[in-house]
């Protein structure tokens, strides 16, 4: 929008006063990071004074234009987060700032990176109302661009991606998420659009945002994004063993008498990541292994110390040794069985 106003006057005093008033009104503007508010009229007032044939004369001319609306926002990551298996409500913290020169609201989206080998469960977005950086019950759950209202120029909010860690993840594994903010017109749910074509008389909208971390977030697209990463925390590895015995006597009963069979079952599960797990079980006194009864997960292992996972007496005399290898919380339960006879 422009106004071109050209006037002349030989009434020095009148115009002098007006020029003076204008000068007084044109006081220094407020310095803002986001810049001059959209719709502000910028006016330049030029005056000339001169002598013509001994007469002092003046003229004043003004020229105005309107500051257009720049849509700009930044999304920055505040923190990455470590997440234990099965942990709920794990937050990734971001700051969304309106760096444009007009009030704006934002459509927000948490996007799992295409390179992720696993994803978090129950992914939600919250405004961190108390700026704690962690998820609290008082935080506001995002539903749409209207949930968090309008953000004034230079204002910012902290947005949390809140999600639950699956059980089947291994220490050190990572999953990255982009928080994508898309400009939406203040007071509406309409995504902002740039004013097409040449300048219009009204306040035009111009995108000046830079490229973000999300795929396809290019400069000047009315969006910005940043990424945060969940890293599965290192859980101290632990292996749980459970051992049961069943007695089968030679008369079809369950009496532990000489000649009866003792069937031992050992189960192993791990939390965290346990490498090179070996189960060592000395045979009870006064018993002898029944040959070729050693099984791992129902598959028979030879008694000799050889290429299979287990042996009886081969590694250590009168002892069952089974190498289970690397176990994680994601591994299936390992079941070892063997029979001995009471002497």
């Amino acid at each position: 929008m422009t106004m071109d106003t050209t006037k002349k006057s030989n009434h020095l005093t009148v115009w002098g006063i007006i020029a003076f008033l204008i000068c007084c009104l044109l006081t220094a503007g407020n310095a803002r990071a986001a810049g001059t508010p959209a719709g502000t009229t910028i006016t330049s007032t030029v005056s000339v004074s001169y002598n013509l044939g001994g007469e002092a004369l003046t003229a004043v001319v003004g020229y105005s234009f309107v500051a257009d609306q720049v849509v700009n926002m930044t999304v920055t990551k505040n923190s990455d987060m470590s997440a234990a298996p099965n942990q709920t409500n794990v937050p990734l913290s971001f700051r969304v700032t309106n760096t444009g020169n007009a009030a704006q609201r934002y459509a927000l989206q948490a996007v799992s990176k295409a390179t992720n080998s696993w994803t978090m469960n129950n992914v939600r977005l919250y405004r961190d109302n108390n700026n704690s950086g962690s998820w609290d019950t008082g935080d506001t759950l995002y539903a749409d661009a209207g949930t968090f209202g309008d953000l004034q120029p230079d204002a910012s909010i902290i947005v949390l991606i809140v999600a639950d860690t699956p059980n089947s993840v291994v220490s050190g594994q990572t999953a990255a998420y982009d928080l994508v903010a898309t400009a939406v017109n203040a007071g509406t749910l309409n995504v902002s659009v740039q004013t097409a074509g040449p300048n219009t008389a009204g306040v035009d909208t111009v995108f000046v945002d830079s490229a973000g971390s999300a795929a396809g977030d290019v400069p000047r697209d009315g969006k910005h994004s940043a990424s945060g990463t969940y890293t599965v925390s290192v859980v101290a590895p632990a292996v749980s063993l459970n051992k049961t015995v069943t007695v089968i006597d030679q008369w079809g009963g369950h009496q532990p008498i000489p000649g009866a069979t003792l069937r031992y079952t050992i189960t192993a599960t791990a939390s965290g990541t346990a490498n090179n797990v070996v189960v060592i079980d000395p045979l009870p006194a006064n018993t002898a292994i029944i040959p070729n009864t050693l099984k791992l997960n129902n598959a028979t292992l030879t008694d000799a110390a050889d290429t299979d996972a287990g042996d009886v007496g081969g590694t250590t005399a009168d002892t069952v040794t089974v190498k289970l290898g690397n176990l994680t919380s994601a591994s299936l339960m390992q079941t070892i069985t063997f029979d001995v006879k009471i002497k």
């Binding site: 006081t27 502000t40 910028i42 030029v46 000339v48 013509l52 004369l57 020229y63 234009f65």
Partner: protein, 164 residues
Amino acid sequence: MQKMLPVLLVLALLTPAAAWAQQKGSIELKSIAEVEITETNAKGEKEVKRVDTAKAKVVPGDIVIFSTYYTNISDKPAGNVMITNPIPEHMLYMDRSAEGKGTIIEFSVNRGKSYSTPDKLNVTDASGKSRKAVASDYTHIKWTVSKPVAPGVKGDVSFKAKLQ
């Protein structure tokens, strides 16, 4: 008060228009604000064009060129021709950008009360210490045309400022 400014200005400048517009024996002024736009032409070369702010989008950070053209449309030479231009609100003067052939260019740091060349301008900061004025301290620019402007002679002055 700020919001009323454009209205006030239009009233102040437009109301007496009919009476004085055709008056003889004066200097005619024309003022324009433009932005520089870099375009790539058909040959792939970058060209910088000046576009009237009426036809360009102007957003914070843009540099605006304010130009004033004067013509002596009287039949007598005009002496002591002085053009003054407050730096518009929300605009930040770009250092060394004021131009005007055959003029002495001076600046004010006190809203036009006094003018001087940049080397002689000082400002007092909040703690009462005096320091050399910088471009962002300037509030007004004044061009004094060195020689009388003969009938029919034209000239122009300009400066650049950034929209805050």
